[in-house]
């Protein structure tokens, strides 16, 4: 051992990164980069409780040019019965070599299986080890015993005898124990470090110096302090928290030498004071030596760069032969789509078969060269097993470009039909593992997982984990809670922000109008925001990845630690990127709600008509389906129901699957922003000739009118120009999307194209297209995989609307609230039946309606008095649906699960007990909790038992007035006809009686029950609460109860309560927009059903919103220029009146949107209308609304001098934009000039729109008819 270890060779052996959840603040990348800057040769990562950061550390070290060490820091459960120290402490383990890494993985897995009191208390997975457990995995592990260890704690407690015993205990168990000296300059920490060093010396134990690092710089310690508070769920200042002083940072060699000298200088006894300089050098040398021993070789020790594929189906040669045999058999049997004439127009049978065989040979050559045959067989096996269990399963992603996948039955897409490339999926020149993604029914995703785990065994399979990280809202919540703000206030502050990154908080406060003017923009909160920004992106919770499953050979558990997920699955500490680095195959099994919705639809069709539809095998050329899509009648359909997509499909009018593939690919930020859509549409509608940079590129670009849409086209273009082959071209394409990639590629591209005889002008033109395309565009195979469920869902909507809506409403796959889908069902001629305790089940079901539905609630009758545009009726817009749906039941019955608060067990009991004869019968047998029974009564679920009189007509003085429940001015209908049937309020009272009887029965006084023995069950309650005793709910009260209990309005559309107001203002209905002139200024109104802030070309934030006005949707755009006055109201209100300009756009079929200039809250306007000024006052309010200075602005007028207003969102001075500090959330600008607003694609502020807000239209006093 050398005593003259150079100081700069110091290596940190005990380092926590941000993957020590809510503990460390530095990413592995930042730590490795800093270590390299400090001249350190290596760096350990010893995260707390897990190995989540291990492969990120390995990668970061490789990038920083230093060597990695790996370990873990685990809580200790001491088995020592004489322990007098309450907290048993923690121990750090370091891995030596391949054996050490395997031991580490297995030990961490075992530690997570140890049940601890902390885990039980916190409902969290807290690992723990005993010395005995560590000893079981001692091979290749170094046990570091520092100040937090059982030994260190005994030393601190001045129990030297106990410390010595414990140290001996570790060694006698066979562990290689090393004492870890740490001095953070805390109170008494130096003296404790000295005593620990003396113990090591006196017992002949090796000692090393470390700094128990948890952040980069001393200034990071407040953030770490907040994390301690958040992790322990206590406020800052709590005595449960340890003191901080900023010393747990990644200290440099000189600082660490000082620590060594400080500690060794204070040592006493033999070798003490007299030899302090030598003591420090020895400590540092021993540290360097241990670091050297623990240095890991990524390839040799961790298996990086190798592929560890399942070995369940024989060796590679056997698997290759098996794969070939299966594929050849499929070709012979004609099990591929282009074997059928409809899928290959213009190609004869022999030619198709030859194409198939050629393609198979081509792909098998690639698969053999990459050694991936086991992978294909494994995925095919998984897909087979999943389908055998009756679970719908479809491929997604680039794997659809493989013909082998199609032949194996994994994919329903024949790449030969759609001209897809294998090379986009897998090439021999790319070392990375391919991704095959399977979409399964969301409701049965975990079933699919179980099938995989059962088939491959726990030693080969685990779920991929993922980290939930701090974003603006979560960071603000945790920081504010640590700083003891009241919970209500914390919620209000957090919800004021859209779903943005935490590091954009300050920038957002200055830049977003709805925040700039809000009360959260104050100095008092600035500390919270500052620290919240420091938490940006830190992992806070480990969760199961929504789809990733690892499939490997039987050594998987030597290469990753696993813990139990909340769902009970083994959860790997590898995330999806780590799996790639670790060479473990990942299969994505994604739960897709639309697959569940379609499965339910198909089951309903089969249940009611006995017709069994094989939707995957059917032709994909149904004209009525495409006609429906072209009308943008696509609500509920997969992928094409959003406002933007409805506009695009209307302009494009797709005619076949190829068109749908283009549509899906175009509706992406890249194509939208490179303005590829307009030239495409012009070419498509014959308004412009397609232009090709060179005639040789016609074949590649013809399908999209000369516009580059697909990755596959880029591959072909590069191949045509350079002759490099498609595999190489895919590498080039990937390279193009890296920073600086285009510049590095250009010389090669030009030289190659020049050799092949292209003239410089053409080369430049093509290069421009190729380089600008960069990472944009879309994998065509992926789009093709998406296009299938798009078509299938549209076909089902077109031909089996009732079953389709039942499926969509049961599994809720889309972006809209259910009330929009219900409205769409009605417009399609499907009657929506309310919940009925005798007819409803746990799912939405199709039914045969008994009678024609009354005029849909949204449509005023033909005899309506109002001449306004608001009164316009739909002219049978969807008659074709009814014709097409002949034989299919035209009604759907609402599911019991829609009732707020009902449990799965209650749903099951209700359904198994059907039918019920009376309320009492239901109460006795269904045993549903009282609040849920009351809710059922309020929404009329017992109406079939107690047929009600027609809904009470409203008082003529207030036709369709907003709800004024219990108001004496709205008297109920005459009570005479109601005498025989109890009202819903009567039923509510009877529920109360039943509950009281049940309570007294439990207390043994069952007197009350005896009264009804033998009585008619349907009638048993009449004496206690006579029918008609209480007034029936009026229409407004019913709708209010429905919104509260179900989240959607059944009896009448909520907007119709404002019909007088809206008619008086001459508001235009959505169905009527087609007739408005381009540029016309109009008013529209409705319930807000969607807001989106997608990426747009200019980098502006444009807010798109959709309003449901009972006859359809109005799509609105709010540009930045109006957001200052509109954003707060737009995000804060539910029922909106909007003024705006009609915009008709598109080459070919027009799509209509409204560019909003102003918006108002409808209930607020109604308030004015019902005041003394009437409608005139409303009109006056609207007129002044333009004027910011005098308008009724709730937040006051903006002060131009206020700090938040100094940076305006539309800053005209680009220089100033550039000079803004780094914290500014500036638009991301791409090479082709496309700028992306940092606020694009983020969820809106406020709560979710999927359910209506709790405080709805009118907070009418006394409207608490709903049981809470």
């Amino acid at each position: 051992m050398t005593l003259a270890a150079p100081a700069e060779a110091f290596t940190h052996l005990h380092v926590a990164s941000s993957y020590s959840l809510r503990y460390g603040t530095a990413t592995p990348r930042a730590l490795a980069a800093r270590a390299a800057d400090l001249g350190m040769p290596a760096l350990a990562l010893t995260d707390r409780d897990g190995l989540y950061g291990a492969f990120k550390h390995v990668k970061a070290c490789a990038e920083a040019g230093i060597k990695p060490l790996l370990g873990v820091d685990l809580p200790l459960l001491t088995a020592d019965p004489t322990a007098t120290i309450p907290r048993p402490g923690r121990v750090t383990l370091l891995a030596v070599g391949r054996q050490g890494w395997a031991s580490l993985c297995r030990l961490v897995t075992a530690a997570h299986a140890v049940p601890t009191a902390a885990a039980r208390a916190a409902d969290d997975d807290v690992p723990a080890v005993t010395p005995e457990l560590v000893a079981e995995h001692a091979a290749g592990l170094i046990v570091l015993l520092g100040p937090a260890s059982d030994v260190g704690r005994a030393v601190a407690a001045r129990r030297r005898d106990q410390a010595r015993r414990r140290l001996d205990g570790w060694r006698s168990l066979g562990c290689e124990a090393v004492v870890e000296i740490v001095d953070h300059l805390e109170h008494r920490s130096t003296v404790n470090a000295v005593r620990l060093a003396e113990l090591a010396r006196d017992t002949g134990t090796a000692a090393v110096l470390a700094n128990a690092v948890r952040y980069l710089d001393p200034a990071d310690s407040p953030a770490a302090q907040v994390l301690d508070a958040a992790r322990n769920l206590v406020p800052l200042g709590s005595p449960r928290l340890v003191a901080h002083n900023g010393r747990a940072y990644l200290a440099g060699p000189a600082d660490m030498t000082r620590v060594a000298e400080r500690v060794t200088a204070a040592m006493t006894g033999p070798g003490g004071r007299s030899a302090d300089a030598r003591g420090a050098a020895r400590l540092l040398a021993d540290t360097a030596e241990l670091a050297l021993r623990c240095t890991l070789d990524p390839a040799g020790d961790l298996g990086v760069g190798a592929h560890h594929l399942p070995e369940t189906q024989g060796d590679v040669g056997e698997q290759q032969r098996a794969l070939r045999a299966r594929c050849e058999h499929a070709i012979l049997a004609g099990r591929y789509r282009t074997a059928h004439p409809s899928a290959r127009p213009g190609i004869g049978r022999p030619r198709a078969a030859r194409n198939a065989r050629d393609r198979l040979e081509h792909e098998l050559a690639i698969i053999d060269a990459t050694g991936m045959a086991p992978y294909f067989l494994t995925v095919a096996d998984v897909a087979d097993r999943v389908r055998a269990a009756g679970i719908r399963c479809a491929i997604r992603g680039s794997g659809a470009g493989s013909f082998v996948n199609h032949l194996l039955g994994i994919s329903a897409i024949d790449p030969l039909e759609h001209d897809l490339l294998m090379e986009r999926f897998l090439t021999p020149v790319r070392a990375t593992l391919p991704d095959i993604d399977l979409d399964v029914e969301s409701a049965r995703r975990l079933d699919a997982y179980r099938i995989i785990f059962d088939a491959y065994g726990a030693e080969r399979t685990a779920c991929v984990s993922m980290m939930e990280t701090y974003r603006a809202r979560s960071a603000i919540r945790d920081v504010a809670a640590a700083m003891s703000l009241p919970p209500d206030e914390i919620g209000a502050i957090a919800k004021a922000f859209p779903h943005i990154r935490a590091k954009h908080i300050t920038a957002a406060l200055g830049e977003l109008p709805e925040l700039r003017r809000s009360r959260v923009n104050t100095e008092q909160l600035s500390t919270i925001f500052n620290i919240a920004e420091q938490l940006d992106g830190l992992p806070r919770h480990v969760a199961m990845h929504p789809c990733g499953v690892l499939l490997s050979d039987r050594t998987l558990l030597d290469r990753t630690a696993v813990q139990a997920s909340a769902e009970g699955f083994p959860l790997s500490h590898l995330d999806k990127d780590d799996a790639e680095i670790a060479g473990v195959i990942k299969l994505d099994v994604l739960g897709v709600r639309m697959q569940s919705a379609m499965a339910h639809t198909l089951a309903e069709i089969e249940r009611t008509t006995a017709e069994r539809i094989d939707i995957d095998a059917m032709p994909r050329d149904d004209e009525p389906t495409y006609a429906m899509i072209g009308r943008s009648d696509t609500l509920g359909c997969f992928q094409i129901e959003s406002p933007g997509q409805r506009e695009l499909v209307k302009k494009m009018a797709p005619r076949d699957i190829a068109d749908l593939i283009v549509d899906i690919s175009l509706f992406r930020p890249g194509p939208v922003n490179s303005d590829m859509i307009t030239p495409f549409l012009r070419a498509r509608h014959g308004l412009a000739e397609p232009r090709y940079p060179d005639e040789k590129l016609r074949a590649a670009l013809q399908e999209t009118g000369g516009v580059v849409v697909f990755h596959e086209q880029v591959l072909r273009i590069i191949d045509v120009l350079t002759g490099c082959g498609l595999a190489e071209a895919d590498l080039v394409r990937r390279h193009l999307s890296t920073p600086g990639g285009p510049e590095r590629t250009a010389p090669w591209f030009r030289a190659k194209a020049d050799i092949r005889g292209f003239d410089p002008e053409t080369i430049e033109r093509v290069w421009e297209v190729v380089s600008a395309f960069g990472g944009f565009g879309f994998c065509k195979a992926h789009a093709a995989a998406f296009a299938i469920p798009v078509y299938q869902s549209a076909w089902l909507k077109r031909h089996h609307p009732a079953a389709f809506y039942a499926g969509v409403l049961t599994h809720d796959p889309g972006m809209y609230p259910k009330r929009v889908i219900i409205g769409d069902a009605r417009l399609s001629g499907v009657q929506v039946l309310p919940i009925d305790v005798n007819a409803s089940s746990g799912e939405w079901r199709t039914e045969q309606a008994e009678q024609a539905e009354q005029t849909p609630a949204g449509d005023p009758g033909p005899d309506d008095r109002r001449p306004a545009r608001w009164a316009i009726r739909l002219p049978g817009r969807r008659d074709d649906h009814r014709a097409a749906g002949r034989g299919a039941p035209p009604a759907i019955r609402c599911s019991l699960r829609e009732v707020k608060g009902i449990s799965d067990a209650e749903v099951e009991r209700v359904v198994s007990g059907q039918p019920y004869a009376s309320l009492r019968d239901f109460w006795d047998r269904a045993r549903v909790s009282r609040p849920v029974v009351e809710r059922l009564a309020l929404i009329g679920a017992f109406d079939s038992l107690y047929p009600p009189a027609p809904p009470a007509p409203l008082a003529p003085s207030a036709p369709l007035a907003p709800p004024a429940p219990l108001a004496p001015s709205a008297p109920s209908a005459p009570s005479a006809p109601l005498a025989t049937a109890p009202t819903r309020r009567d039923l509510l009272a009877r529920v109360g009686v039943l509950a009281r009887q049940a309570a007294s029965a439990r207390q043994g006084t069952s007197q009350a029950l005896d009264l009804f023995v033998g009585a008619d069950p349907a009638d048993g309650m009449a004496d206690l609460v006579p029918a008609g005793e209480l007034r029936e709910l009026d229409l407004a009260e019913r709708v209010e109860a429905e919104l509260e209990i179900l989240g959607f309005d059944v009896s009448q559309h909520v907007i119709d309560f404002y019909a007088d107001l809206l008619a008086g203002l001459d508001v235009v209905r959505s169905a009527d927009l087609d007739r408005c002139r381009n540029g016309e200024m109009i008013l529209v109104a409705g319930a807000k059903v969607a807001t989106q802030t997608p990426a747009v070309r200019s980098g502006q934030r444009i807010i798109f919103a959709s309003l449901d006005d009972a006859v359809g949707l109005v799509d609105l755009a709010f540009f930045e220029s109006v957001q200052d006055r509109c954003a707060a109201r737009l995000f804060g209100s539910w029922l909106l009146l909007v003024r705006g300009r009609v915009r008709r756009a598109g080459a070919g079929p027009m799509a209509v949107t409204v560019n909003a200039t102003e918006c108002w809250d409808i209930p607020a306007l109604e308030e004015i209308r019902r005041g003394p000024g009437g409608l005139a006052a409303v009109q006056a309010a609207l007129a002044t609304g333009h004027d910011l200075q005098t308008g009724p602005q709730p937040a006051g007028t903006p002060d131009p001098a206020a700090p938040g207003n100094l940076i305006t969102p539309a800053d005209p001075d680009p220089e100033r934009n550039r000079d803004r500090d780094n914290e500014s959330a500036r638009p991301l600008v791409f090479a082709n000039g496309f700028a992306l607003s940092p606020y694009a694609e983020t969820g809106a502020p406020g709560g979710s729109l999927k359910t209506p807000p709790r405080t709805l239209w009118h907070a009418s006093p006394g409207s608490t008819i709903t049981p809470k």
């Binding site: 109170h187 130096t190 200034a219 302090q225 800052l236 002083n245 500390t527």
Partner: protein, 93 residues
Amino acid sequence: MARLYGEPVEVQTGEDGLPASFGWRRRRYAVRAVQEYWLVNRDWWRESNPVPARPELEYWRVEASAGQGRPAGIYELRRDVAAEVWTLRRVED
């Protein structure tokens, strides 16, 4: 017997950064030895100001006396790093 003070003191530091002497209640105390030195973050979350870049407080436990021949006592000094303010925390004699 320990007494708590919390009174501001004026401290002179040596070239090594250690406190060399301090003035308290019109007397000058010479530091004979530093017994202990440690750091703790201040309670920055209780303050309305933005958190300083260095929120540490330095604690020095020193042996000091008010002149030759005077009995030495143990004095605990605290330095607010950001504000450069010294406080006498406690005295043991």
